[in-house]
Amino acid sequence: MPAPPGITLKGQHRIGNAVLFDAVLRLPAGRWTCLLGRSGVGKSTLLRLILGLETGGVFSGRFTATDGAGLAGRISYMAQSDLLLPWLSVRENICIGARLRGQRPDMTVVDDLLHRVHLSEHADKKPNALSGGMRQRAALARTLFEDRPVVFLDEPFSALDAGTRSTMQALAAEVLTGRTVFLVTHDPAEAARLGHQIIVMSAQDMQVWPAPGTPAPRALDDRQAMACQTRLLAHLHATAAAS
């Protein structure tokens, strides 16, 4: 995998005449950035913008990689919904990216990824036969198969139960080490556990929040992470109450 770049976004996004956000966002290279904020503030729009996806608005500004190269083809994406194709097996789903580009997938890479996300025994099953956590592990393996230096995660664990979510967070932190990761989340605990950088987004600004001093990913009982989570939650609560 090539060295991961950092990414900077600066600009204004409008939907009709309304400004959704006017922001500067910096994603440090090889680190996890977690973006928190109220629903509708534009977190997912920001992510979609950098990915080049439809946002329903107009962006005036620019986003650049710190190494000066373009971003096309360097970002892989994982959404809240696993987006596994029901008619394909887990193995086939993991390498769907290669098939969609008209390439022959390297099945040894697929088997290695299946092993890393602990799905080797379920490789030939259809997604319907898997639990929610297993499906998200398959989606994570599919993201890894793309082998891109930058990974965007849009609330990928929010539909999972608490235990599975915690396991998935640890797994994602392990397998995505060394990549530039941008995680959009609603969960202060998730941000406090995984983020090297935490940003709280509002219509007015991007507030860089002090991340815990302990190395990420943090243990479930990490005191600094718990304190950070509490402060984040209080801040989000106060913001919601004020609006």
Binding site: L53, A79, W87, L100
Partner: protein, 248 residues
Amino acid sequence: MKARDILLASLVGVGVWQATVWVTGAPHFILPSPGRVALAAFDSRVLIAENAWITAVEVALGLLIGTFLGVVTAIQLALSKTAERLMLPILVFTQSVPVFALAPLLTLWFGYGMASKIAMAVLIIYFPVTSAFHDGLTRIDRGYRDLSHAMAAGKYHFMRHVQIPNALPSLGSGLKLAAVYAPIGAVIGEWVGASKGLGYLMLLANGRAKIDLMFASLIVLACLTVILHVAVGALAARLTRYAQGVET
């Protein structure tokens, strides 16, 4: 539709038919009894079988060709926005012309043989198959499009690996409609001008006041349609199970 349900419905139908004959006392050249029709069917079994075979071949070929053309058109429309903009209104407009009104023209163009009946069946099923499949191809979860964009998917590969499998249940719905319409198309073609087929045999029997033979032909036609409906229904269910990833 289960075989037991079909059998039960048939028994009820025959019962109502026989009761109507008894209650109204209609003469056999207006409404023959089920027994009389069964006898006529047995006596003319070779004649009916020969003509039923012709109609069945017309319907089967009409279905195959119409489905092929419908599938190709739907894929083309889904791949090209320009084709979609130009072709969809034309397709909808052509549906405002009753296909039955075209039967004499098709007979003129394709003759009295099977070709004009196959063309009729193709015309009548082409739109439902195209429309249903096109709907399935274009009605796709935005998430799949986003993911494919991030993966730098080619549009033909996206069509092959995502859109087509995703649209198979819709194609199944179109095929079920086609299975009902195709025999109508073929028989109307036979009415307008033919020397073979169940539609032709019905007209011939009617002209010679052999109403029992006409009824027998009609019942055989209905049986053909039901068999086709059941077979296509099973295929549609299989397509849906495949698309949903349900093990078969």
